[in-house]
């Protein structure tokens, strides 16, 4: 078992996303240090983008939250408004994941029909 495993690399791009030197193409490389919009816009193109309906709702909710907190940022309304932003951000992220998962038609087909010839994988 171990001998089969040692021949395989752990280094898929996503597994390495936390490594700064390799993360240039990934979403993760640009954490606090490069927080400029332009940079993120370029990075965004590497994965599927959020469906426009959720995206619109989210940016709208951010504007509303800023408004709701303008008067009193300790109010329940302010917290509820930012909570809505969080909920929509999570929904947007899930929607992107779903798009990514379904982006390869063969992968999708094989998930449902793993026994078919075209979905067969071999040990060696």
């Amino acid at each position: 078992m171990a001998s089969t495993l040692t021949n395989v690399g752990l280094s898929t791009p996503a597994a390495l996303q936390a490594r700064p030197q390799l993360a240039g193409a990934g979403r993760v490389g640009a954490v606090v240090a490069f927080a400029r919009r332009a940079r993120f816009a370029a990075v965004r193109a590497s994965g599927p983008s959020t469906p426009p309906d959720i995206s619109d709702k989210m940016s709208e909710s951010i504007d509303k939250a800023k408004e709701a907190c303008a008067e009193d940022n300790a109010s329940g309304e302010c917290a509820a408004a930012w909570d809505e932003v969080e909920e929509l951000s999570a929904a947007a992220s899930h929607a992107r994941d779903k798009l990514k998962e379904n982006s390869d038609p063969l992968e999708k087909y094989c998930k449902e029909n793993p026994e078919t010839d075209e979905c067969r994988t071999y040990d060696n």
């Binding site: 078992m1 171990a2 089969t4 495993l5 040692t6 395989v8 752990l10 898929t12 996503a14 597994a15 390495l16 996303q17 936390a18 490594r19 700064p20 979403r27 993760v28 954490v31 606090v32 240090a33 927080a35 919009r37 993120f40 983008s49 959020t50 309906d53 959720i54 995206s55 709702k57 989210m58 940016s59 709208e60 951010i62 939250a65 800023k66 907190c69 329940g76 309304e77 302010c78 917290a79 509820a80 408004a81 930012w82 909570d83 809505e84 932003v85 969080e86 909920e87 929509l88 951000s89 999570a90 929904a91 947007a92 992220s93 929607a95 994941d97 998930k111 994988t121 040990d123 060696n124």
Partner: protein, 403 residues
């Protein structure tokens, strides 16, 4: 690919589905059941059908804030049991439920009593208990635990409305994940095992930047404002649940890099409660001792910043616990295998199973650090717990007589 074929032999298949490719290892516990029931009413394949509806699910709770890795954890957990988890087929496309052969995962947001508009009008967040219907949550989790199907509401995260309910059948393993699985005492008492994902503020901030910065309208300020505005409710209603958890996965910034605040390298602690039925904590070298271990040395070369482990007994909210800690990340596969071979009580079924699971999902976030490692270990522990409970039930005649 040898890996995935090995995997199949350890998976637990649901007896509720008609499966044409039974392998010996998979049928072990059905055989136990059928011999027990076979003498009374049924025989052969039909017994599977019947025992399926009579089985009482093992109930697991997973608590964490939104955007803190619950879905990744759930994908790792269902993978340990074999088979991928999918949304219910032919149902509401916005359903939050995931179903695999053995496991059904429901999202507790479905028990929101106030929809998005309602919360906004009243000025309460989803974290607030007033926005959630704990009576219904309790009733339905209890019904599932008794082996009864439920009509569970669906909270639609896109529209913010409550959609018509979906039918949930009792599975073998029922997972409730969300903000409040351990908040209500009645629900808490129904849990056979509970987990809390405790993400430190620094890491939460870094993760949300990764998730949201690319979104139109978001900025560092908006991400920060959102975390800060939700924090009072988070501290009041979500965070206190960790004292009840059987296992806590704490995610902190690394200590290997001085003043690191980028959240790329993580220090992760697995806090395991002692004395929990059917749960034997993992240990490093010598159970109950305190140990620090740097696996990188003559036998294993690691790249910067290296890997550091710690293990030992501790107390957590007045409970005796064992804590296993990993700081740093795996860069190569042999590092992971080396670490796995030095950990004990992993509840694996064969040598290298932890590594195999991590490798199988190398594309999931955290597969090269302690979050992936400890989530995988907890997945194996839950499988072990499940098998112990099933074995116990099979041996208890009072339970068996109940149809």
């Amino acid at each position: 690919m040898a890996i995935s074929s090995l995997h199949a032999t350890t998976s637990l298949h649901s007896p509720c589905t008609t499966n044409t490719s039974f392998r010996q290892n998979q049928v072990i516990f059905f055989t136990t059941r059928s011999s027990r029931r076979g003498s009374t009413r049924h025989g052969g394949a039909r017994t599977f059908q019947v025992s399926c509806s009579v089985d009482k699910p093992v109930v697991i709770g997973l608590a964490a804030d939104s955007g803190c890795g619950k879905s990744t954890f759930m994908r790792r957990l269902t993978s340990v049991f074999g088979g991928a988890a999918e949304p219910p087929k032919g149902g509401n496309p916005d359903s939050n439920t995931l179903i695999s052969d053995t496991t059904t995962v429901i999202c507790l947001d479905d028990y929101h009593s106030l929809d998005r508009t309602g919360r906004k009008e009243k000025g309460v967040t989803a974290l607030d208990p007033r926005a959630n219907d704990f009576d219904l949550m309790y009733e339905q989790v209890k019904a599932i635990k008794e082996g009864k199907a439920i009509e569970k509401p669906i909270y639609n995260h896109v529209t913010g409305l409550l959609d018509p309910p979906e039918l949930i059948q009792p599975p073998k393993i029922f997972v409730i994940e969300g903000l409040h699985p351990m908040f209500d005492e009645r629900v808490r008492d129904l849990l056979d095992f509970s987990i809390y994902l405790d993400i430190s503020d620094e890491v939460k901030f870094a993760w949300k930047i990764q998730r949201d910065m690319a979104e139109r309208g978001h900025s560092l300020e908006s991400i920060k404002a959102s975390i800060e505005a939700r924090k009072p409710d988070f501290d009041a209603f979500i965070d206190p649940q960790k004292q009840y958890a059987d296992a806590v996965i704490e995610v902190l910034p690394t200590q290997l890099i001085p003043d690191d605040n980028e959240g790329k390298v993580l220090r992760v602690k697995l806090i395991m409660k002692e004395g929990v039925k059917n749960f034997n904590p993992v240990y490093l070298f010598d159970e109950g001792s305190s140990i620090t271990w740097v696996p990188c040395g003559r036998k294993l070369t690691c790249s910067y910043p290296g890997i550091k482990f710690a293990y030992g007994p501790d107390t957590y909210f007045g409970n005796e616990v064992s804590v296993l800690e990993m700081d740093g990340q795996f860069d190569r596969l042999d590092e992971l295998i080396y670490v796995e071979s030095h950990l004990s009580n992993l509840s694996t079924k064969f040598y290298g199973e932890v590594t195999q699971q991590m490798l199988k999902h190398a594309d999931f976030p955290g597969s090269n650090n302690g979050t992936g490692l400890f989530q995988t270990i907890i997945g194996l522990k839950i499988r072990d717990l499940y098998e112990q409970i099933i074995a116990e039930r099979a041996g208890a005649p009072t339970e068996a007589a109940k149809v």
